[in-house]
Symmetry: C2
Subunit: 422 residues, 2 copies
């Protein structure tokens, strides 16, 4: 007999069907027992009256995997308005070990470290699995939007001969007896690939040997990277990012979860860094925005534009990486941006240098020769268009959208300073 | 003026437009010069008659990035039947350095090592970029098919405390002063996630410290992994794989390239390993199929079923990893399979063990205690359904489909025993 999912039961009232899933909860009353079964689509309830079957069910701890055959019977009090009666229960494995915490309660009683240690179990709880479904939908929306805009997906090396940007916070690896490093970002590769496809994106892991243990950092996270050529300046990149964020939020919305999802305005308000400092009441020579400044700017965007999103553009060149394009006419500022969501930085991006001679000069200004960047610089020696891009941290985006206070709650198996298992 | 792509030119005959791209080739004749410009969509031709403009163009080596304004004029002899006349040329950067090999010739004259050293340049040639577009389409088809079948995308750790399967060929990493390893596959994680979502997939890098330098191995490749629960046996996995391969081939077909793409039969013929040995004329006690055997079985599938694809099922348990489910009734064989394409192994998969006690016994039979697998085994202790899955190596799949003799030709920046740059 073909199994159907719990969500399909209401369409089968009166029929004999089979469901299959995990025993979510047993309610053993005096005259009757209820078996709540969980599958990928939700919960269903089986009514057990037969003494022998009840005896069996009493020996099956929660999380045991079973198939339940029964007659679909309307009952307004049951989940979905239906339940299974005249049931037969068949084990699909062996009785499970009883869970160390109850998965059927609305909130997991175990603290986060315990949850993470028992990830194969805790992730079965909606408070954890929903975040991962949001992440999957967000990544799907990212790709769908960029596919429609003519971007090509790329896959780039995660093992590199040199550290990508700064040399700090990289993981060293033994590469066939030689030193190598885990990639901190696909930045150089996505730029090189603009020379091939003009518009590219990558969804993949990046690695940061982050020495501090915070609620916002992971040693491995999923980076959603895009880069595009033949732009006028960073504003063309911001326009694509607006579409991408709208596409991601729309796909998350399709999940139907009870989340306070934002509206993405047709045009996201944008502030120059120097304006942003004024609005935040910060000194005009501040080189960066503190969290309090970002909150003030977020409040300004809501107040003045009714927007949960606001771009800050033109960050000082001194705070941006060497490949950043300066603002034409005033090289103190850069053609870069951050996208703030409800007063928190969510995405970073900007226009990059595209002339070989500019790269040589920028590296020299950073005290570096071109030798270590030779293969990257080939792209520029042989012609690159004006281009730019952005990177979205999938877990951080997901945490912001779901309101998760700790980024580890929206990562299936987080990696940090102290954790390398499961 | 808004730029349009080369492929859009025929729709604008008579209009003034701007294209932008790389100077693909200059043809400097006596009375006229032709400027061939390459963009993401193809080539277009500009006719240059004005002496001053010709002088400029003579100073611009191939791969210089330019914008060309002109009038779209019908000319049956030009690419796409149109060319630009009355043109203006504007540099979008600085003159490029002349390429060390000609990108405008049908075949790259440089050998593969030279191509790989100059990847930012060589990947601009269709012989290389097309393979990467095929890979992107194949990965898109993989996800599209599985999304439609109710699978959820996951992202799992690439840094693990222990080697995933065998302990051999792993890259060691310094993880905050402790030893750790790069993941050889997401096998354990995708199984654990079947306990959460029932059906999951992942597209991501995996790492093999492959000590041999062959045309079929990379130290990093993109693995397309799927795993599903509540199966009867491996045949349910094979049915999903059939849909996935058909979806991948269909998306590649949409690219419109001149490739000998296979038909994927509605039901792919399947042979048990013991039958396969007979057809290949191999001794009945061979534990695995040699390349010559696979070719013979591929020929059999074409001859008997008109199929480029054939499943071989039931591989001997001794040749499969410890989590493999044996064949009920005859535990010499396994509920596993390989999918052969034109006589070459393309995908491996099978049913996995799902009972905790079976894992403990299987590990013991392999001389291992459960301690090193503790977090993985939690999933089975707490109830797992019968499940199975498969993994497709994206680069290998792409090489088979495009006929590339060396897997490095379909990887943008391959990593191997000798290569860690660009």
């Amino acid at each position: 007999m073909q199994r159907i999912l719990s969500a399909q039961l209401p369409a089968h009232v009166g029929a004999r069907i089979t469901i299959a899933g995990w025993i979510h909860r047993r309610r053993l009353l005096k005259s009757v027992a209820f078996l709540i079964v969980r599958d990928a689509a939700g919960l269903s309830q089986a009514v057990i009256t037969e003494p022998e079957l009840r005896e069996l069910v009493e020996t099956l701890p929660e999380e045991t995997v079973v198939a339940v055959e029964g007659t679909v019977t309307a009952n307004p009090a049951a989940p979905g308005g239906v339940e299974l009666t005249e049931v037969g229960v068949r084990l699909l494995g062996e009785p499970a070990e009883a869970p160390p915490f109850d998965l059927y309660r609305p909130v997991l009683s175990a603290g986060l470290p315990t949850q993470l240690d028992a990830a194969p179990l805790s992730l079965r709880h909606p408070s954890r699995s929903r975040g991962l479904r949001v992440a999957a939908a967000a990544a799907g929306g990212f790709r769908q939007t960029l596919d429609a805009l003519g971007f090509t997906e790329i896959h780039t090396p995660k093992i590199t001969a040199t550290a990508t940007e700064s040399g700090a916070n990289v993981f060293a690896i033994d590469y066939f007896g030689r030193p190598a490093y885990l990639a901190q970002s696909p930045q150089f590769y996505k730029q090189m690939m603009v020379g091939v496809f003009e518009r590219v994106y990558e969804v993949g892991p990046v690695f940061r040997a982050e020495p501090s243990d915070t609620t916002r950092h992971l040693a491995q996270y999923t980076s959603l990277d895009a880069e595009l050529g033949f732009i006028g300046d960073h504003r063309d990149v911001m326009a694509v990012l607006r579409e991408v964020v709208a596409g991601m939020v729309a796909r998350v919305g399709e999940l139907g979860y009870d989340l306070a999802l934002p509206e993405v305005p047709a045009e996201i308000p944008a502030l120059h860094f120097s304006e942003a400092l004024k609005i935040a009441g910060a000194p005009a020579d501040e080189p960066d925005l503190a969290p309090a400044h970002e909150r003030a700017i977020g409040e300004w965007a809501v107040r003045e534009h009714g927007s949960d999103f606001v771009f800050v553009t033109g960050y000082p060149m001194v705070k941006r990486p060497f490949y950043t394009h300066p603002e034409p006419g005033d090289p103190r500022w850069s053609n870069s941006f951050d996208l703030l969501f409800r007063g928190l930085e969510m995405v970073t991006g900007g226009q990059r240098l595209h002339r070989y001679s500019d790269y040589v000069a920028a590296l020299a200004a950073h005290g570096e020769g071109p030798a270590a960047y030779e293969s990257y610089l080939q792209a520029f020696r042989h012609g690159m268009p004006p281009h730019g891009g952005f990177a979205i941290g999938l877990e951080r985006f997901t945490a912001r959208l779901t309101g998760a206070p700790n980024i580890r709650e929206v990562s299936a198996f987080p990696r940090d300073l102290n954790r390398v298992t499961p």
